[in-house]
Amino acid sequence: MASGIRIEIAGLSKQFGAVTAVDDLSFTVEPGRVTGFLGPNGAGKTTTLRVLLGLVRATSGTATFDGRRYHDLDRPLETVGAALDANFHPGRTARDHLKVYATAAGIAGSRVPAVLEQVGMSEFADRRVGGYSLGMRQRLALAYTLLGDPGVFVLDEPVNGLDPEGIKWIRGFMRSLAHEGRTVLVSSHLLSEVQQSVDDIVIISRGRLVKSGPLSSLEGETAAATIVDSPDRRALAAALDAAGMEYTEDGEGLIVAEPDPGRVGHAAFVGGIELNALHARRSGLEESFLALVEGGEK
């Protein structure tokens, strides 16, 4: 395993005709961590990854692995494992699919059953890919990334189409890769899909960098809050006023600037107010993410 490889995107731009897909984008991805590459559909994530992998030519700027372009890697599949759109010939079996590329990359044929086992696909190895479910295709795409036991993993929307069990599995998979010191770059258009497994985030919108840094840096962007509601909303508001709590009203109820729902409940109890909703607002991360992305679109 080649480990400790750093991905560096520097001043990267890509234009398709008149459309600017990626616009002067720079960020780095560190080894030993899972980095979430986030942004709405069409933000330029896939284009960036394809430039990094030598499949799309950059208009300007560079995308390198420890300073080397994909094209210049001596043994690419043993350095970088990439799963982009699940691309297979429907008439070929999973085993043959992997064999074809292992041969081209000079990887021992014994790796094929090993990686099929690793992604839990041994049972279906000799079935034609045309009959696979989306989840099975995603697993086969991951088996391809593992062929060369590389130090870097580049995964484009690997969670798409997976069932809850599959999602749980891939989270564990990415965590264990990073734990072994490998570099993991995973893209998603939904923060919630990856937030449990990423250490760092890179957020882009309209081809431009919006934010990069540790996941925790997102938390400060919106304060945690409690959502509370009552059949008698005015009485509830009065009780909150009495307790000295700040709040705003929206469709869901009152959003109280107080992270602990217990204290809000207590304030209502003191005022003798009947409640029909009381819960903490989801970690604020998703809101921060959406706010950043929308900001980038203006």
């Binding site: 094209h71 690419p76 599949l77 691309n87 297979f88 699919h97 074809v100 041969t103 081209a104």
Partner: protein, 275 residues
């Protein structure tokens, strides 16, 4: 050796889907139908010249010309199959978007296309062997059933078969070139069928009517292929004696078409962004 690895990978690609044997079966059926059928008809006609003449058949080639004509059906009608196999080896990568894993495993795109060219040359020769086994097997059986010479004791016949296998191999590389120029699979298949089954026969016939155009017409790929093989149903059916290249010139014309198309395709569509 990354070149050998790329070639080995292309062979695995060719043999791990059903396309090669589907085309081989169709090729066998097509050649068997024409070589066996025409062998039987020509054999009967040469035995019964009067009946054949009354049926409107004016010119029956002498017995010793029959065998090469019938055997060469393998390439003169079968050449469309290696073209398709070669073209599908390239267009399939575009259609199923397998260029992504292919170029991830081997980022040197020219090397990949070169490996396809080489692999399909061999695959085309394989289809050539299959086609000639069919045409010689059935043709010789039909001829000997009518007591005619099979020509199999003559080294010229075997040289013709060898040149026919070479022609089939070269046709497969033309398929690779076409596929890399026109990556749309449906468009490629339509072009192959329309050109080989309709456009070129018409052009050859039209070109043979005038000595100036006949000079140009001999460079049409089908004409070059017939020149390489040395015998063809078309030379029997042609209106006049017609112009024809030397066999080695015919081979060079086919090779040049395959190489030039592949090089142009490799410098254009093959270089494009894979999205």
């Amino acid at each position: 050796m990354s070149v050998l690895r790329a070639i080995a990978s292309e062979f695995q690609k060719a043999f791990t889907t059903r396309m090669w044997w589907l085309l081989a079966i169709l090729l066998i059926a097509y050649v068997a139908f024409l070589a066996g059928g025409l062998g039987a008809f020509l054999g009967w006609a040469s035995e019964n010249p009067d009946a054949a003449a009354s049926a409107g058949n004016t010119q029956i080639p002498p017995g010793e010309f029959l065998a090469p004509l019938i055997y060469s059906f393998a390439s003169s009608v079968g050449y469309v199959f290696p073209v398709l196999l070669g073209a599908l080896a390239v267009t399939g990568e575009f259609r199923h978007k397998t260029l992504t894993p292919t170029f991830l495993a081997q980022p040197n795109r020219s090397l990949v296309l070169g490996a396809k060219f080489t692999t399909q040359l061999v695959m085309g020769a394989g289809l050539g062997v299959i086609a000639f086994v069919t045409s010689v097997g059935l043709g010789a059986a039909a001829l000997s059933a009518f007591g005619l010479g099979t020509g199999l004791d003559n080294s010229d016949t075997w040289a013709l078969i060898a040149r026919g296998v070479l022609a089939m191999a070269l046709w497969a590389t033309i398929g690779v070139g076409l596929g890399s120029l026109v990556p749309n699979q449906v468009a490629t298949i339509v072009i192959v069928i329309a050109f080989t089954q309709f456009l070129e026969p018409v052009l050859r016939l039209a070109a043979s009517l005038n000595s100036v155009t006949a000079n140009i017409g001999q460079f049409l790929p089908g004409a070059a292929s017939d020149a390489l093989v040395g015998a063809s149903f078309y030379t029997l059916a042609a209106a006049g004696p017609g112009q024809s290249l030397e066999w080695w010139q015919g081979g060079l014309v086919l090779l040049a078409i395959g190489v030039i198309a592949t090089v142009i395709g490799g410098a254009t569509t093959w270089r494009r962004d894979v999205t």
